[in-house]
């Protein structure tokens, strides 16, 4: 087969593999480098004459230091953030005025979907992939309008450029659709499955994950696991709660079928809380300034992107 026929696919499939010999050589050297970089352990334990002579004085200093450490520990405990309960997180989320939730199927990849919600503006904007294009859907509840705009590969850049207009279509939102949307933005989306442990299934648990188990986690957060069982599955949500605001900053979704199984990672959502003006600016960048946006069903943009149904109606 000529690789020129499908060049991009051929390059993606091009793979070079190391041999066992190479692996051994690199790993041996890497292990040695790791050991070399290890922090030095304290010197030998044998007591010298000098150590014996100065020992009592050292002991006094050590005792004083121990008292100071205990005092610091008590002070730290008093100042350290208190444990957060699930209802606190739920309430904080209900009070948040603006929210951006990015969903990741794979922690290494780009988000598969982003949703911006402004409770003050009563708008919801979705960004998702539609084939090679990016699709933005704006639901404007007060004006009962839905606007859609696509950005194809040639429009991709640092951010969408309104001057290189892709397709924008506007359609009327049905009354019941607007009501449903309004109801949905007053909730907590899907970040939390329950308002509190009272409403969770029997046997559910809300427990703090010890900091030392988290490694490099999200700074400024405390981490909690919410576990419950339903319909033959066990679920776990690992929730990274902001220590100051009680708002969730990251939620990881896991599940397993049997109790003896390891939990499997399903997806992750990252929550941010932008200001209202940031959401306004984003909408302006994507859909253009207010005066350029059609306030009624219609279509602006390049002719080749015109949706069939809009073209027929006009």
């Amino acid at each position: 087969m000529n690789p020129a026929d499908n060049l991009e696919r051929s390059i993606r499939q091009f793979q070079v593999t190391t041999s066992i010999e190479t692996d051994r050589r690199i790993l041996d050297d890497a292990f040695a480098a790791l050991e070399e970089s290890a922090p030095e352990e304290s010197a030998g334990l044998g007591r010298t004459v000098r150590q014996i002579v100065v020992f009592p004085r050292v002991m006094k200093l050590a005792a004083a230091a121990a008292v100071a450490v205990v005092a610091c520990a008590l002070l730290f405990k008093a100042l350290s953030p208190k444990a957060v309960e699930l209802p606190q997180v739920y309430q904080a989320l209900q009070k948040a005025e603006n929210l951006c939730v990015s969903t990741y199927a794979d922690a290494e990849a780009e988000p598969i979907q982003q949703v911006w919600t402004s409770r003050t503006l009563k708008v919801v904007m979705y960004k998702s992939q539609a084939g090679a294009q990016e699709q933005f859907d704006l639901f404007d509840i007060p004006n009962r309008l839905k606007k859609t705009r696509y950005f194809g590969p040639r429009f991709r850049g640092d951010k969408p450029a309104p001057t290189e207009a892709g397709a924008v279509s506007t359609e009327r939102l049905a009354a019941e659709q607007a009501i449903r949307l309004e109801r949905s933005i007053s909730g907590v989306f899907e970040l939390l499955p329950f308002a509190g442990m009272d409403s969770a299934p029997k046997g559910s648990r809300w427990s703090k994950v010890p900091d030392e188990d988290m490694g490099a986690s999200v700074p400024g957060t405390q981490v909690y696991d919410l576990t419950w069982a339903a319909e033959g599955f066990s679920y776990k949500r690992r929730i990274f709660v902001d220590a100051k605001s009680d708002l969730p900053k990251r939620v990881e979704y896991y599940f397993r079928q049997k109790p003896q199984d390891q939990y499997k990672f399903e997806r992750m959502q990252v929550a941010e809380y932008p200001a209202e003006k940031e959401i306004k600016l984003l909408i302006k960048e994507i859909f253009g300034p207010d005066q350029d946006r059609p306030a009624k069903p219609g279509y602006i943009g390049t002719p080749e992107h015109r949706p069939q149904d809009t073209a027929e109606k006009e």
């Binding site: 690789p3 991009e8 070079v16 041999s19 790993l27 890497a30 290494e108």
Partner: protein
Amino acid sequence: MLEDQRLLWRLKRGDKEALRTIYERYKDNMLTVATSLLHDTGSAEDVLHDVFVSFAMSVRKIELHSSLRKYLITSIINRVRDRFRTKKHHIVELDEVGPVSSNSESPERSAILSEESRLLAGALARLPLEQRETIVLHLKADMKFKQIAQMQGISISTVQGRYRYGLSKLRTILNGEMKK
């Protein structure tokens, strides 16, 4: 990325198994990127060796701001650029290009390349380094044009241009090879 962070955390505490897991996970991707850029599996393995040993040496100081894969691929790119800069590796000229370096044909050498891959690697080597790097970063390291632009310190449109021209030239080279 979460799993990577956990591995990195274990590695910072001297866990060799974590180092082995990271190596197993990313070695082929790293080697492929290096081979695509250098057109010499021997040199590419040297780069992989240097990057990984240096990673193990300095892991305690590393603060990860993106994925571990991107960090390691970026290290490979930087090391490849160093080789070109310090003339350890010369840019392959049109006339010099043959199959991937003869080093790879020795039984001791590690890389295993199919005939189609050899053809592709040979054609890639004929591209200017900038175009080659852009194509490899986009298709083999899954980096977006925006990320490549940031990494190379150029505009996105320049990156897109290099990618487009590079692919077009590659297609011409490969079609020419098939006619021979």
